[in-house]
């Protein structure tokens, strides 16, 4: 635009040109004025526009330009000086502003451009996020599907249902055409088509397990795409033109119970896999997506776990059934056993009586026979019969005892008895046998061994007799020593009897008896067998001996009943052996044999005459003793005759005298020889009176001599009334009495 400072027109005004210029200027001004208005309007509309002041600047520039052009309108005609000034001002201002704006734009435009770049960047980011969102959504869908599938699978413990459900759900989720499961056969060499989705009853297709494609699938835990032409994928007949869909196969580990170790997680070291094959619909041009493959893998794992659970359950059900069966069988067996025991007991009870009756008859009659007149051969025969029947009776008793012991129906007969006398009796009983074999038997009773004890005397004697008898039986020469003492707590805990825990108490003591012999000895390995029934160690020495082998077994049981322990020690064959047993006995009341006088509640005249009219002969050279003994016996109601010499004795003695008391320590009179002569005189046992030696001597020699000459008893002087009474009853009952020392 030209700034025209002319006051007058220089050339003749071209009216048209003028008009056009006029109009153009007008429109330009209009435009120039409207642009800022538009800008303001739109900026106001938009919330964010950082460069407001730029806008103002620009607006100012445009307004001024517009103003300039507007003012230009007046310059076409004659205009006054004011207009010119205004025009000039406007132009100057416009110039200033436009220059400023131009300068400003240099700064602004790069910024504006970078805004654009940022916008692009953000758009890209948004697109990316969209994509990822899509992905997550897909995964979440997959997860949902898996959960649903798992839920379906796990909701049943039946193996078939699990597999069927898997296939069905997979087929539905993934919209499969076909889904199949190949299981390994029992031999493990082939895969058999077990379950399919579409086909109801899969015909038994089998495929060898060592195909390369199968190996490939088995060696990876991912779902792998396989060719639709592979044998495992060719399940349906191809319908010609159809393009088969993609096939994927995945392995399903078949976990076995044994895979679950206590401290191990199940290793997938099991070689047994099943194969799951999934086929997309043909002609669908669908492809296996990654998330679908992942779904398949997860499902395969879940199926494996579910199957193993089902297997475990089956296993435990089977085990429980088995246990129930076994329980029933055991119950039955127990009832049968009980019946058998009852039958046996009944049998024994009957046999007990049945066997003993004839036995009794045999023994009784044989002994009676013995008393009659017999020739020596006959006597020998009768004695043999008697001995054999005694043996048989013992055997029967042993067997019956043993069965009662085993039952636990045997009970000890507890009473107070004289402990010392038990040992002495055994000693005396065994001495004749031992002396025949030239064995010496010695008996040592400890000083602190109580004289009286509470226990089962008969059984204790049986035990001691058995043990000592064995010692004698198995020794050909040498000596046998019997020791009895009270076991102190240290000796009770013998390392050889580790299961024996005796408990000390004030009312009981433990009697320990050791029988040592110098006989044939026993092999240490055989020792445990000794106590078993019917077992005998095989050796020449024992073969000739009798016995059923029950003795020690019975002893052991008696000892156990007495809360004790019995065992045998031997260093070996030929070195002898020692039998030791410990039994529990009760302390008895203090006996009558105290030094000081004791409470005698017996009133002087209040004694029973137990033996009315019993004819007794007393021989004693000591007048005082004689009269005392006579008084004693008279007090007990006996008919007493006293003599003081052998001649007198032999004169007076007759069959009527039932008991003879003779003092064997009479000087000048050999009481022993007298006894022998009595024996000769009265050959028949039932005629002979009971011979009892009265002596003030308490040594072994005396006792041995008495026994040797066949005395039935030895009593120590002085004798009390009670003692005499018990002595007489004992003698008359048993015909034997050896008093304890």
């Amino acid at each position: 635009m030209e700034a025209c400072n002319c006051i007058e027109p220089q050339w003749p005004a071209d009216e048209l040109l003028m008009k056009y210029q006029y109009i153009s200027d007008f429109f330009i001004a209009l435009a120039y004025f409207s642009i800022p208005l538009e800008l303001i309007y739109f900026v106001k509309k938009s919330a964010v526009f950082p460069y407001r002041w730029v806008l103002v600047q620009f607006g100012a520039f445009i307004v001024l330009c517009g103003a300039t052009h507007l003012i230009n309108l007046w310059t076409f005609s004659m205009h006054s000086r004011t207009v010119a000034i205004v025009m000039t001002t406007a132009k100057v201002l416009t110039a200033v502003v436009s220059c400023a704006t131009a300068l400003m734009l240099v700064h602004i435009i790069p910024d504006l451009l970078s805004v654009k770049t940022r916008e692009l960047f953000l758009k890209n980011k948004a697109a990316e996020l969209d994509r990822e969102m899509g992905l997550i959504r897909t995964q979440e869908e997959t997860g949902r599907h898996v959960r649903m599938l798992t839920h379906e699978i796990r909701s049943t413990l039946d193996r078939h249902t699990i597999l069927k459900t898997t296939l069905v759900e997979l087929g539905r989720t993934l919209a499969l055409e076909e889904c199949a499961l190949w299981m390994p056969t029992r031999t493990g060499l082939e895969l058999q088509l077990s379950y399919t989705l579409r086909q109801q009853n899969p015909v038994g297709y089998t495929v060898p397990i060592h195909l390369p494609v199968i190996n490939q699938v088995f060696s990876s835990n991912r779902a792998l795409k396989i060719s639709p032409n592979s044998p495992v994928a060719r399940m349906r007949p191809l319908a010609g033109k159809h393009m088969p869909g993609e096939v994927v196969a995945v392995r399903v580990p078949l976990l076995h119970l044994s895979n679950f170790q206590i401290n191990d997680w199940p290793e997938l070291s099991t070689k047994r896999y099943a194969l799951m094959v999934l086929m997309l619909p043909s002609d669908s041009a669908r492809q296996w997506h990654v998330h679908e493959l992942e779904l398949v893998e997860v499902v395969a794992d879940q199926v494996a776990v579910a199957l193993s659970h089902a297997a475990i359950l089956e296993e435990s059900m089977r085990a429980r059934d088995l246990l129930m069966e076994q329980n029933i069988a055991l119950d039955l067996a127990r009832r049968e056993a009980e019946t058998a025991i009852r039958a046996r007991n009944d049998f024994l009870a009957v046999m007990n009586h049945e066997m003993r009756t004839p036995m009794h008859a045999i023994i009784a009659l044989s002994s009676l026979l013995q008393e009659t007149e017999l020739t020596p051969e006959q006597r020998l025969m009768v004695e043999t019969i008697l001995k054999s029947s005694h043996l048989l009776a013992t055997l029967i008793n042993d067997v019956l005892d043993l069965s009662r012991l085993e039952d636990g129906s045997l009970q000890l007969e507890i009473a107070t008895f004289n402990l010392h006398s038990v040992f002495r009796e055994v000693h005396n009983l065994i001495k004749p046998v031992a002396s025949v074999k030239k064995l010496s038997v010695s008996l040592n009773l400890a000083a602190d061994l109580p004289v009286q004890a509470i226990g089962d005397e008969k059984r204790l004697m049986q035990i001691v007799l058995n043990v000592v008898g064995n010692a004698v039986k198995f020794s050909k020469e040498g000596s046998i020593s019997i020791t009895a003492f009270v076991a102190k707590s240290e000796s009770l805990r013998d390392f050889r009897a580790p299961e024996f825990f005796p408990v000390q108490s004030d009312n009981h003591f433990y009697l320990r008896v050791q029988v040592k012999d110098s006989g044939s000895g026993i092999n240490p390995q055989d020792i445990p067998k000794l106590f078993t029934k019917f077992a005998q160690t095989q050796s020449i020495a024992t073969r000739n001996s009798g016995g059923s082998g029950l003795g020690l077994a019975i002893c052991k049981r008696f000892v156990n009943l007495m809360e004790g322990h019995i065992w045998i020690e031997s260093e070996g064959p030929g070195k002898g052996c020692t039998a030791i047993f410990i039994v529990k006995l009760g302390f008895a009341e203090r006996s009558n044999e105290s030094k000081l006088p004791f409470v005698t509640k017996v009133q002087a005249n209040h004694v029973q005459t137990n033996f009315p009219g019993l004819k007794v002969l007393v021989m004693d050279d000591n007048g005082v003793s004689r009269s005392v003994t006579k008084g004693l016996l008279g007090h007990l109601g006996c008919d007493v005759t006293t003599v003081s010499s052998i001649d007198e004795f032999l004169h007076v003695i007759s069959q009527e005298h039932k008991v003879v008391f003779m003092d064997v320590c009479m000087p000048g009179i050999d009481g022993y020889e007298l006894a022998v002569r009595i024996h000769e005189k009265f050959t028949k046992r039932h005629e002979r009176p009971v011979l009892v030696a009265l002596t003030g001597n308490i040594d072994k020699m005396t006792k041995e001599n008495c026994m040797r000459v066949g005395m039935d008893g030895v009593i120590l002087k002085p004798v009390s009334v009670d003692k005499m009474r018990s002595v007489l009853s004992e003698l008359l009952e048993h015909r034997v009495l050896f008093e304890a020392m």
Binding site: P597, T600, D621, N622, S625, S627, L632, H635, P667, S720
Partner: protein
């Protein structure tokens, strides 16, 4: 003295005899044998004992006075004496006899002589005691009482 007191005296005296060891349980046995059929049993037996003992002691003394002592005979006598004394319950006499017999076995004359003295001494002691006892009993019976039944518990 009235009967009750005499009886009590008798009991105390008897007890003392036991406590001092002159008599032992055998004497009680003898007392038990005394009943209606045998009212003087104890006295009879004890008298017999006294007679026997006198004889025996004489024999013993003579036997030991011999230049060469026959220990077998001495032993036999002592044995007899022991038997008698134990039959009536004269405890101390019996113990003395037991000791005597040991010396006899050893054939120790000195010992034997000493023992004989011992035995004699014990014998006379117990004889004395017993005679006193019997006198007391007679007194009680004469006064109309009865001999108490001895219940000794130590």
């Amino acid at each position: 003295m009235e009967v009750g007191q005499m009886q009590r005296q008798w009991v105390d005296y008897t007890k003392s005899l036991f406590l001092e060891g002159f008599l032992d349980g055998q004497f009680l046995q003898l007392q038990q044998l005394q009943d209606e059929s045998n009212p003087d049993f104890v006295v009879e037996v004890v008298s017999l004992f006294f007679e026997d003992s006198e004889k025996l002691l004489n024999d013993l003394t003579r036997a030991l006075e011999q230049p060469s002592v026959d220990f077998k005979r001495v032993d036999a006598h002592v044995h007899q004496f022991k038997g008698s004394s134990s039959s009536i319950g004269a405890q101390r006499v019996k113990n003395a006899c037991i000791a005597f017999r040991n010396f006899c076995e050893e054939q120790n004359t000195e010992g034997c002589i000493r023992c004989v003295q011992q035995v004699k001494q014990e014998y006379y002691l117990v004889k004395n005691k017993l005679e006193t006892l019997f006198a007391m009993e007679q007194q009680i019976v004469a006064a109309g009482g009865s001999i108490p039944i001895l219940e000794l518990s130590f």
